[in-house]
């Protein structure tokens, strides 16, 4: 893929971007309240936050992968898999939950390994490799359930996905926890820094002794695990399994990362921006739904928003 000439590098700009993003979120809620009273009510806010949390958890993986200069298109399929297998394995009984949790995460990790090995060791372009793996995941999911989703979520899982803790959605606390871990991981740990180096300059990273292929496999594995976890938690939210529930998530996570100011070429950006990006897209979707704009209008608006964000982020390189 073509490397853009101008990328966002210094932390000063990064902080400005995040301030801008949070200003946009607040702006959206104010506009929402003006158009349709009750939009910014605490009740509706809780609904928005819950949906954002699901997107946010899966976007952790997308952020890590994009930071290394790759892209992960398996997220949607893995979320569907996690959600369907969640219901299938748990069968409405809390006793099965731990076992289901572990096996779904391991499955997500295995598909991550397949994508990662293809991208790093076989040198297949991430776009096509993860596309092929997502077809594989869809197939495996349909094969196991034989085309018809079965099973239901258990009480604990439902509490995690749809319940409340301390007056706010439990899902939000899970998301906050995962966000903090991700931000600390990216900023403070050696592997976290190595992810940035691989994205910035592969050759330089190689010569400074970073095991590039291992870092690349790792980010796909982490992404697979995040998506599978999102799927399992979504099972708690919906209680029953649906086909295609994760379909939108691949695009949502990419859009969240892009709006969050992470460079598609890799090497710059971070999770805080992505989290804000996820907030913006879900709030905007909600806002457009409230004012009864059909799907066509929502798509046009979403595309224009991305274009405007690019205009802000990638100003022409002044030479």
């Amino acid at each position: 893929m073509k490397l853009p000439k101008s990328t966002i590098r210094d932390t000063g700009t990064q902080q400005k971007i995040i301030l801008l993003l949070f200003a946009i979120i607040i702006g959206l809620f104010i506009i929402g309240e003006l158009i349709s009273p009750g939009f910014s009510s605490f009740k509706h806010f809780k609904d928005v936050v819950r949906t954002v949390s699901f997107v946010g958890v899966s976007a952790v993986g997308q952020t890590l992968v994009i930071l290394t200069g790759g892209i992960d298109l398996t997220i949607g399929s893995l979320i569907t898999m996690g959600q369907i297998f969640g219901c299938l394995f748990v069968k409405g009984d809390d006793a099965n939950l731990l076992w289901a949790f572990l096996s779904i995460l391991v499955l997500g990790g295995i598909f991550g390994i397949i994508s990662g090995v293809g991208v790093s060791y076989l040198k297949i372009s991430p776009l096509v490799m993860t596309l092929a793996v997502s077809s594989l995941v869809d197939g495996v999911t349909l094969l196991v359930i034989n085309g018809a989703p079965k099973g239901v979520a258990s009480p604990i899982l439902e509490k995690l996905g749809a319940g409340m803790t301390w007056g706010l959605p439990t899902m939000m606390w899970i998301w906050i926890g995962i966000s903090i871990i991700t931000i600390v991981f990216l900023r403070k740990t050696i592997i976290g820094r190595q992810i940035y180096y691989v994205g910035t300059n592969v050759t330089a990273a190689k010569f400074s002794g970073i095991k590039i292929n291992k870092v690349r496999v790792l980010v796909y594995v982490l992404s697979g695990i995040c998506s599978a976890l999102t799927g399992l938690l979504l099972a708690g939210n919906t209680s029953r399994a649906f086909l295609d529930i994760g379909k939108e998530y691949t695009m949502w996570t990419i859009t969240a990362v892009v709006i969050g100011g992470t460079s598609m070429a890799g090497g710059s950006g971070g999770y805080l921006g992505t989290a804000a990006g996820a907030f913006i897209i879900i709030t905007l979707e909600g806002l457009l739904t409230v004012v009864n704009i059909p799907e066509a209008g929502r798509k046009i608006a979403m595309g224009l928003i991305i274009l405007i964000m690019i205009m802000i982020y990638y100003r022409r390189d002044r030479r």
């Binding site: 297949i124 793996v133 592969v202 066509a296 990638y314």
Partner: protein, 320 residues
């Protein structure tokens, strides 16, 4: 001569994979080799071939075009809504309006990308969303009509012998080959994909060529949209969705490097063939849909591993 040998190394693996799948299928299910089944295959690969070529123009310069899908959707809808009386000016309008839309969208993408040096992936991702929104705006549920004469003309046989889609495939391949290999524009595309700075130094108008490749992409995608509207005899705003990623997959399996400068139309026919061969065989063998997904994923990964190392074959060392 060197170039020829290198080309052979790029395109040979695709055709080895395609021919072996074809032969295995023939052994497993002799019905597969029948003339009718092959004509059916020709009819079905045309849109994917066109979408793959659209994508190829942009990939060769090191860009990417995710708006292929929405251009197909939009032109498909427009083609199905235009007056379907196929006489005189009506048919001329039908033949001109959708390609103009594709061309305009492509020019618009190319302008945004080359004027401000924005990353093509995100720009076309955004424009894809916008134009698919417009397609839904024009037609929210599948509908519209296409003249039956057009349908008969496209699916018919020339001199009641040669199927028209086969002629279309030959024409598309040879025109694209001529553009790429024997025009200044085509050679400039490769120069640009090889090294943008050197291309600029040697007097190529880099920005113009870049815009032109996106325009070509829009144009070929609109042909795919029109073709689809004819063989479905109606329009569907969502018909283009799978083509976004499939066009990239086809180009990459066909030997086009995502980093630019390597590949050509020769491999894309083979790759599009592989795509539909897989579907076709699995259907003829009566494999259940669920296994088809798995098999398709596995075969594509395998084909990718054989044909499309991002760095190319070890013959050519290219700095990342």
């Amino acid at each position: 001569m060197f170039e020829r040998r290198r080309n052979l190394l790029i395109y040979l693996p695709v055709y080895i994979v395609a021919v072996s799948i074809y032969l295995i299928a023939g052994i497993l299910q002799p019905r597969f080799l029948s003339w009718n089944n092959n004509v059916n295959l020709f009819t079905r690969i045309v849109p994917l071939l066109l979408a793959g070529i659209a994508q190829m123009f942009v990939l060769l310069t090191g860009g990417i075009d995710l708006s292929v899908g929405s251009v197909i959707g939009l032109t498909n809808v427009v083609a199905a809504l235009l007056p379907f009386v196929d006489t005189g000016w009506n048919i001329v309008l039908w033949l001109i309006i959708p390609p103009m839309i594709g061309l305009a969208i492509g020019l618009c993408n190319g302008f945004i990308i080359s004027r401000w040096e924005f990353p093509p992936f995100i720009v076309t991702l955004a424009t894809n969303t916008v134009w698919s929104g417009f397609a839904l705006l024009i037609m929210d549920v599948p509908g519209g009509k296409i003249s039956m004469n057009l349908y008969r003309a496209i699916t018919g046989k020339l001199f009641s012998l040669i199927p028209v889609p086969l002629i279309l495939i030959m024409a598309i391949i040879s025109i694209t080959y001529l553009i790429l290999r024997h025009t200044v524009f085509g050679r400039s595309i490769y120069a640009l994909g090889g090294n943008k700075n050197i291309a600029r130094e040697s007097g190529i108008r880099v920005e113009r060529i870049e815009v032109a490749t996106y325009a070509m992409s829009g144009l070929f995608a609109s042909f795919a949209g029109m073709y689809l509207s004819v063989i479905m005899i109606s329009g569907d705003p969502l018909v283009g969705e799978p083509y976004v990623m499939n066009s990239i997959a086809v180009a990459v399996i066909g030997g086009v490097a995502l980093s630019g400068g390597r590949g050509g139309v020769q491999g894309i026919l083979g790759a599009a063939y592989i795509f539909y061969l897989i579907d076709n065989i699995l259907n003829l063998l009566g494999v259940s849909t669920f296994y088809q997904y798995v098999a398709k994923g596995l075969i594509i990964i395998l084909a990718l591993a054989i044909t499309s190392r991002e760095k190319g074959l070890p013959l050519r060392i290219k700095a990342k």
